[in-house]
């Protein structure tokens, strides 16, 4: 298991980092995910699905981390926004995007993150989240619509 984990460790770190945007938190999440993977390795019946299974565990771990940190982030970012009046527009939008992602459901955030922030194909996302391709497509479209709405979009555009 360690060898397999090692094989995917860079990819898993990339995912954890994309979710948490914090080196130490990403490493902690990977560590916790690793422990869970070892503990629950009996649940993996098909070795071909190892990668998707590991990614799913890492994502779950990151989402848990998100729940804990969501409130802290909200406070922290508001403080940052108030204290730095010279931030450029891109930076402000980036913060708004991160906040908007936190307001999505876990599944919506997973779909958006895997597709747009990590560049996975819809077929791969289906394998990771254990969803049929058609469901990935429809829910991805709905998630993007919700993100747009949160960020002040007009659904009729």
């Amino acid at each position: 298991m360690e060898k397999q984990y090692e094989k995917y460790s860079k990819q898993l770190y990339r995912i954890a980092y994309s979710y948490l945007r914090h080196k130490e938190n990403a490493e902690d999440a990977l560590q916790a995910a690793y422990e869970k993977a070892i503990k629950n390795q009996d649940q993996l019946t098909d070795q071909k699905k190892l990668r998707s299974w590991l990614i799913r565990i890492v994502i779950n771990e990151c989402n848990q981390n998100h729940r804990i940190r969501k409130r802290q982030m909200e406070i922290g970012q508001k403080v940052a926004l108030n204290s730095n009046t010279l931030m450029d527009a891109d930076y402000v939008q980036s913060i708004e995007l991160k906040e908007a992602l936190l307001l999505l459901s876990e599944e919506e955030r997973n779909l958006i993150s895997l597709k747009y922030l990590l560049g996975y194909k819809q077929k791969e996302i289906g394998a990771i989240l254990d969803l049929p391709l058609g469901t990935v497509k429809s829910r991805l479209s709905r998630s993007l619509g919700k993100l747009k709405e949160i960020m002040g979009g007009d659904e009729n555009e």
């Binding site: 360690e2 980092y17 747009y116 993100l147 960020m151 002040g152 555009e157």
Partner: protein, 473 residues
């Protein structure tokens, strides 16, 4: 905000993540270069590969290193051993076992009727049978730090596989080596060592069974708390840099310095050199370093002084990895692109996979040594593996020497002195992309090249005082 804007924002965010990840993947350039020099120097000395114009210097370096390990045993003659076991006409003899709070060094030699060079294949062919007894406390500490117990259990061999170095032949033995283990937890006891595989000069494995019980007594080390630090402004972007020195542990196997450095930008690494204690040079041990501590450490061959007056070092080189982004969309190959007033030629070839050669057509005036590229394929994928490069060395006096491989460049004595190594031709293939099974990748030509980072070295000479005591202290 419409769909296009949202997607654009997500794309920007993805780029930002990529950028952060690239910065995060900061290579420990200094340590990896040092490790490579060590590994290759041992390979060369062992295999007799000739690098005509600098063989002597590497040889001299190796002899000094070997002498250092031998002196550790010579200065602790009570830990000399004479235990030998024979199997299949091959005799392995343990010549010494020196242990303290920092390291454990096991000295051995192998002899066979043919006299061929043999060494322990120590990653696969050496087991410390009572490792759990010897390293029980270390295991507890690692588990406390958050490593899963199963993982620590299954990786016990890391504790006794911390490094090996060939030793120069002496009057009684030619195939000599020292193995480094992490420091034992027990103060005294017996190490039960089972050797099952040896390796000859061709890399062929010889199986057998050589079982030893070697006694040890661990010497205590002395700790000197330093609690000192320096804050500097580096001559690169007026960057602030600070280094704290926590303590120095002095034992019979090594003198270990614990430190922690901090930069305000993660694109730079510094290398330290010219460590001295009471004006006497401290010689770095390449096998050194702590396996479990949270601080950076550097090990020196042990020194004995009655009273430490001062410890000094200097920062001699900055290794800079400067983030850049230059995009080039390529329709057909070969192509010449312009960068920093010079030209780069990119050629494509295809056998069973795509390969690219990027040749720097001029380097004389540029200040970077080499570039890091990203290559994008039709589907937006961007992973390439670099499988070789050719370049040249520019000596401090400006003379140019060819180097045909990374090994030769790294082994050059001038490279040890931080001479600039210029990459002139870099070879990439899509091998790594093919190895990622989840991508369903079956070969696509590259369509875009991006220059992502410039690597450069900057010589500096910043003296740092680690400890200074006055006569009344």
């Amino acid at each position: 905000m419409n769909d296009r804007n949202i997607k654009k924002l997500l794309k920007l965010e993805r780029r930002q993540i990529e950028k952060e990840l690239i910065q995060d993947r900061k290579l420990r350039f200094f340590s990896s270069r040092r490790k490579l020099i060590l590994i290759m120097a041992i390979v060369i000395c062992f295999s007799g590969v000739a690098f005509a114009y600098h063989q002597m210097s590497v040889y001299e370096w190796f002899m000094l290193e070997s002498l250092g390990y031998d002196q550790i045993l010579e200065q602790n003659p009570k830990y000399e051993l004479d235990i030998s076991v024979e199997d299949q006409d091959i005799t392995i003899a343990i010549d010494g076992l020196v242990a303290d709070d920092l390291n454990t060094y096991l000295y051995y030699h192998v002899s066979s009727p043919s006299g061929e060079p043999l060494r322990i294949k120590y990653h696969d062919g050496l087991d410390v049978l009572n490792a759990k007894e010897l390293y029980g406390g270390l295991k507890d500490r690692l588990v406390e730090k958050g490593l899963p117990e199963d993982y620590v259990d299954e990786n016990f061999d890391n504790f006794y596989g911390a490094g090996s170095s060939s030793l120069a032949p002496n009057e009684t033995a030619s195939n000599r080596e020292v193995l480094r283990f992490e420091a034992f937890d027990l103060q005294k006891g017996t190490v039960e060592i089972l050797i099952t595989q040896l390796q000859d000069a061709e890399g062929e494995t010889i199986n057998g069974e050589w079982l030893f019980e070697a006694p040890f007594v661990k010497e205590k080390s002395e700790t000197i708390f330093l609690d000192s630090g320096s804050i500097l402004q580096l001559p690169y972007r007026d960057m602030d840099f600070s280094v704290e020195f926590m303590k120095m542990e002095m034992g019979v196997t090594a003198t270990r310095l614990y430190y922690q450095d901090d930069y305000d930008d993660r694109t730079v690494n510094v290398s330290y050199s010219n460590f001295t204690m009471n004006d006497q040079p401290l010689r770095t041990i390449f096998l050194g370093g702590s396996g479990e501590d949270e601080y950076s450490t550097v090990d020196f061959f042990p020194v004995k002084v009655d009273k430490i007056k001062d410890i000094e070092c200097e920062i001699d080189t900055l290794f800079i990895m400067e983030y850049v982004l230059e995009q080039y969309f390529i329709d057909e190959f070969p192509v010449e692109i312009e960068y920093e007033g010079g030209k780069l030629r990119i050629e494509e070839s295809f056998t069973d996979r795509y390969q690219y050669t990027i040749t720097d057509l001029g380097y004389a005036t540029r200040d970077f040594e080499y570039l890091e590229f990203e290559t994008y394929f039709e589907g937006g994928r961007a992973i390439m593996s670099q499988f070789g490069w050719e370049g040249c060395l520019i000596m401090p006096d400006g003379t140019e020497l060819p180097c045909e491989s990374v090994i030769e460049a790294m082994l050059h004595p001038e490279a040890l002195k931080r001479t600039k190594v210029y990459k002139l031709e870099t070879h990439y293939s899509d091998e790594e992309l093919r190895d990622l099974d989840y991508l369903d990748y079956d070969g696509e030509p590259a369509v875009e090249f991006r220059i992502r980072r410039e690597h450069k070295t900057m010589p500096v000479k910043e003296p740092i005082t680690i400890l200074k005591r006055h006569f009344w202290e």
